[in-house]
């Protein structure tokens, strides 16, 4: 062992270039693998910190409605848990109604915090650790408030939180809560602590007041997140099997009297699976894990290739050791041992690289990854296992080749073996594998980047720049007249071109409503409708395809007011709705009738506005015009078109104006670009950046290996080159010969990579309704890049040898 260590150390210290290639390449591969494995573990490990997570399930609603794509919702009607408890005795269930709480601070300012109104059984299902108080009594009183440690620090400071009274305005109603328990802060990878998830910084009991929430028992409404908990997966499956009958028993009937389960079904989703439930999420995360594994594979291939290429240089050592009595097994152990040592060194260097790179990775990927060395999530044990496995995988083939040399043949020959023709073919095959992976990853990167760019700039049917959403406009503390007053003040802010309010806005889903509609005598289908205020279409820059936009000049355009719903009003359709309803063209839809409760008349058709996820097709939309106040069951969002003013300056001005009109309601706004990015694009962009970084590094590792291989191979062929030059070959001819040797596997790699990349990227793009065409340019560019990298990598080595004098080359051996 000591001999092995000494010999190994000398090999590295005497050949720093080789050491850098071998250990450095492997270290880079391990670093990429570890970072992406950490990312995958983070993304797939949501809520696994909590032992009860696997026993707890989110109830999902699945809608199968005529005329619209099937959809899934993480929310259910509010009364679902109550109905289920009545039908399933002993069911352990609860619900969370996500809301924003408004707190007035000592300095008079108001802040918003994610708030959960929950069922009294909450802590029986979510048996999360408490820092203070008792779970049994935490929600016993309707005025009890459970807050997180960080919430307590922020708003109570160092004082003891238990028993303190905090007045919080929830859904427009101020309530004096008394802190009954303090919840330990939830980790970063919890769906209950993630922006966009069911965030809970403070928890209180929900109080149902009849008449206050008319949709509370309405199937299809999305009031709460409902959860059930079972001791075993079998019990969960048994419960899920009874849901169809439950829905048909308890649910309403469809418009044609069909059972509810033909429209709505429910499934159970384990809490740990909540985080990656959106379409494409899990596949993307898995793909990133695969990129990490492929980068490591390329690095391992490098090691194998360099080790077997170097075999020529070590043949004499093997022969001498065999002559001195070493068995083949002992030599194989030595070479595997060297591979394990190399991997161990590379793992150490890789860990250092990970530490250095993590801040950048977190910035790129929007993550909060950090290395933990020991303990349950420690990296040391998995890394030791990785070292053993990678060391064995990387070492076995070179060990088999090296230990098989026949000492007599090696010692008798002036030439040294390099694994023979088979060895050369294996090396060439491995280069094909490396470059096929590198080319496929490059194609993937090009397509991902193009798609993400496309999403940022694609025509969404409205003008997304110069547009700001006032998201606090939906605060439950505001009523219709207040909103109209606020809107009037906002319109007067310098830089504001126009402002409007509507139930619909980009990346704003809270108030969308869908219902069955039809042309008289036609087929019934589900159409999403929204109330829109004056200037809605001009604020968004919608494109009118036919007819006209609604206006206060036409009395029949107004949808609010007594009797409007019964007598029918003028409406605007989007192109998809017009098409789905069977109108041959937008123009033919004008004057057409669309029946909901009453028969409405179509006065305009606009181009589809892609307000929601680029992964989903645009829903058929019908717009009701409302010139007056918007109150009622749903709260609208305001949109402001601005020009000639910096968004930050505008935001400050809007805030001032807002607080003048509604001092007790905190102001919140976001540009449409930012809102779309936050809700729909950012995750893909972040993952694309990680993919790109992983792919680029994988290509670099592959090129490093090719460089090393070229160096060894060129060195081995010095004598051959000398002979060729003596026979009259020019430098250019020698160069072509040497570069051609390495170009061949790279060209073959294209044949392997193209179909794989095409299938993978086509499948990924299919997840987007808006997507780029998968044209040949991505493939050609990736291949040209690979060829260029290969040529540049090999050229330096080859040029030096090709130019040397033949006499020197012949003296070399």
């Amino acid at each position: 062992m000591a001999n092995l260590m000494i010999s190994y150390w000398r090999t590295l210290s005497h050949r720093p270039g080789f050491a850098l290639l071998n250990v450095g390449g492997l270290a880079l591969g391990i670093a990429v693998f570890v970072v992406l494995a950490m990312f995958v573990r983070f993304e797939t490990g949501f809520d696994r910190w909590w032992p009860g997570a696997d026993q707890t399930y989110l109830i999902q609603d699945h809608y199968t409605l005529s005329g619209v794509p099937e959809s899934t919702s993480a929310n259910t009607m509010g009364g679902l848990v109550e109905r289920m408890r009545a039908d399933f005795a002993g069911l352990d269930a609860t619900f969370v109604r996500s809301s924003d709480a408004t707190l007035r601070l000592a300095d008079g300012s108001v802040v918003r915090e994610p708030f959960g109104l929950v069922d009294a059984n909450f802590f029986n299902v979510f048996d999360w650790p408490l820092a203070a108080g008792s779970a049994a009594t935490a929600l016993a009183d309707p005025a009890s408030l459970v807050i997180t440690e960080s919430f307590a620090r922020r708003y109570i400071g160092n004082a003891a939180p238990l028993g303190r009274t905090i007045t919080i305005t929830v859904e427009g109603k101020p309530v004096a809560y008394r802190v009954s328990a303090v919840l330990r802060d939830l980790p970063d990878n919890s769906e209950f602590n993630r922006e966009g998830g069911v965030r809970l910084h403070a928890i209180a009991r929900f109080r149902y007041v009849p008449g206050d929430k008319p949709n509370w028992y309405h199937w299809g409404s999305e009031e709460v997140s409902s959860f059930v908990r079972f001791p075993t997966p079998a019990a969960a499956r048994a419960f899920a099997g009874q849901l169809k009958a439950f829905i048909d028993r308890r649910g309403d009937h469809g418009s044609k009297g069909e059972p509810m389960s033909t429209i709505l079904t429910q499934t159970l989703l384990p809490v740990p699976a909540m985080h990656l439930r959106e379409k494409g999420d899990r596949a993307t995360v898995t793909t990133l894990g695969i990129v990490g594994a492929l980068a490591l594979l390329i690095a391992v291939v490098n090691y194998v290739n360099l080790a077997t290429a170097r075999a020529a240089l070590r043949a004499r050592e093997v022969a001498v050791r065999k002559a001195l009595g070493a068995t083949r097994a002992a030599l194989a152990r030595q070479f595997v041992g060297e591979a394990v040592l190399t991997t161990a060194l590379a793992a150490l260097a890789g860990l250092a690289l990970v530490e250095i790179a993590l801040p950048m990775v977190n910035a790129l990927g929007g993550t909060t990854l950090h290395l933990v060395y020991l303990g349950r999530d420690g990296v040391v044990l998995p890394l030791l296992l990785l070292v053993a496995v990678v060391g064995l995988v990387a070492g076995i083939y070179p060990a088999a080749i090296l230990s098989s040399f026949q000492p007599a043949a090696v010692l008798a020959s002036a030439r040294t073996p390099g694994g023979g023709r088979t060895g050369a073919r294996v090396r060439e095959g491995l280069v094909v594998v490396q470059f096929a992976i590198a080319i496929a990853l490059t194609i993937g990167t090009l397509v991902l980047v193009a798609q993400v760019d496309y999403l940022r700039s694609a025509d969404l049917g409205f003008r997304r720049d110069g547009l700001m959403l006032i998201t606090s406009f939906d605060d439950a503390g505001l009523d219709g007249p207040q909103r109209s007053a606020i809107l009037a003040r906002l319109k007067a802010v310098p830089g504001v071109v126009a402002a409007t309010q509507a139930d619909s806005g980009p990346a704003f889903t809270d108030t969308s409503s869908s219902t069955d509609m039809q042309r008289p005598g036609g087929r019934s289908m589900t159409i999403t409708w929204a109330r829109v205020g004056p200037d809605f279409f001009t604020v968004y820059g919608a494109r009118l395809l036919a007819g006209r936009l609604p206006s206060t000049r036409f009395g029949a355009d107004e949808s609010s007011g007594a009797g409007a719903a019964e007598r029918g009003v003028n409406v605007v359709l989007n192109a998809t709705a017009a098409r789905n309803l069977g109108f041959a063209s937008p123009a033919t839809a004008i004057g057409g009738a669309v029946k909901e409760r009453a028969v409405n008349s179509v006065v305009g058709v606009i181009a589809d506005m892609h307000f929601l996820s680029p992964r989903e097709p645009v829903a058929p939309m019908l717009y009701y015009f409302t010139a007056g106040d918007m109150g009622g069951q749903t709260a609208p969002v305001a949109a402001v078109r601005f020009a000639g003013v910096d968004p930050r300056v505008l935001t400050a001005a809007l805030r001032r104006e807002w607080l003048g009109a509604a001092p007790t309601t905190p102001f919140a706004s976001v540009t449409v670009q930012e809102n779309l990015a936050k809700k729909y694009y950012r995750a893909d962009e972040q993952r694309t950046r990680l993919f790109t970084a992983g792919a680029v590094l994988a290509v670099v590792i592959g090129a490093t290996g090719l460089y090393g291989l070229a160096a060894f191979d060129t060195g081995r062929r010095v004598r051959e080159i000398g002979i060729r030059k003596t026979l009259g070959a020019s430098t250019a001819q020698i160069l072509r010969l040497l570069v051609g040797t390495f170009l061949r596997p790279v060209l073959i790699a294209n044949v392997v990579a193209w179909p794989i990349a095409w299938v993978a990227m086509r499948s990924w793009l299919a997840g987007f309704d808006q997507r780029v065409d998968l044209g040949p340019s991505y493939f050609l560019i990736a291949s040209l890049l690979a060829v260029a990298i290969a040529i540049i990598t090999v050229l330096g080595q080859s040029f030096r040898v090709a130019r040397s004098e033949p006499a020197r080359a012949l003296r070399y051996e």
Binding site: N3, I6, S7, R10, T11, H14, R316, E317, A319, V320, R321, K322, A323, L324, G325, A326, T327, R328, A329, A330, Q406, P407, A408, A409, L411, A412
Partner: protein
């Protein structure tokens, strides 16, 4: 000690069959110093490789101390080399990345047991290379490298020393020193079989085996000096 009976070695490739050794019969007694001579390609090194068990005969028998080792498995032959044979090569074959001391220690590396440091030092002193123990092979002259190689060969106190043109890469002075060492080892009881092109060095042996075209042309016993 050694008996070869009708030993042949044929190399076959796709189209060519080369008989390197043809029906060799040879006996070598314990304590002999045998020189093998002959023109290039006559099979001298092949014979030495077969004697050293780093190559296998195509036919015939190889008896080592009365035991037929012709068909012994690789591991058994490795043990035989480890415990009883020592090799000296024309091109030294020291491992570049190891110091002289470590190269010499390699002669014991595959043996079980401890207490090697003393044996290594003794072997180096024996060939007067101890002062170069911490140097690497490329820092030594050819003669010093060959003395180090001899130290490696004798560190395990082998019964049989096989030397393939041990002076081939050395000047006459260094060559003479190497031959002195081999002669001394032989006098101390080791059997030495040496391939050489040098008649002067062959004169140091008690028997000279002349080879031609893969056969033993003449085996001549020299009178004791």
């Amino acid at each position: 000690m050694i008996a070869l009976e009708a030993l042949s070695r044929v190399y076959r490739s796709d189209e060519v069959e080369t008989t390197a050794l043809n029906d060799i019969d040879l006996e070598i007694a314990t304590g002999e110093f045998v020189a093998i001579m002959g023109p290039s390609g006559c099979g001298k090194s092949t014979l030495l490789n077969l004697l050293g068990t780093i190559d296998r005969a195509t036919s015939g028998r190889y008896l080592f101390e009365g035991e037929d080792i012709t068909r012994r498995d690789e591991a058994a032959l490795a043990r035989l080399r480890r415990d009883r044979l020592g090799f000296v090569f024309q091109s030294f074959n020291l491992i570049d990345d190891l110091t002289i001391e470590e190269n010499v220690a390699l002669g014991l590396a595959y043996r079980p047991g401890t207490g090697r440091r003393g044996a290594v030092a003794a072997a180096m002193d024996r060939v007067a290379i101890g002062h170069r123990a911490r140097h690497f092979p490329h820092q030594l002259s050819g003669g010093q490298q060959q003395r180090a190689a001899i130290a490696r060969a004798i560190v395990g106190e082998p019964q049989l020393i096989l030397a393939d043109e041990p002076t081939g890469n050395l000047d006459s002075e260094n060559g003479g020193q190497v031959m002195d060492i081999l002669g001394e080892l032989n006098r101390e009881g080791a059997t030495v079989i040496m391939v050489t092109h040098s008649p002067a060095h062959a004169d140091r042996a008690r028997r000279v085996v002349h080879m031609l075209d893969g056969r033993i042309a003449l085996s001549a016993q020299r009178a004791a000096a």
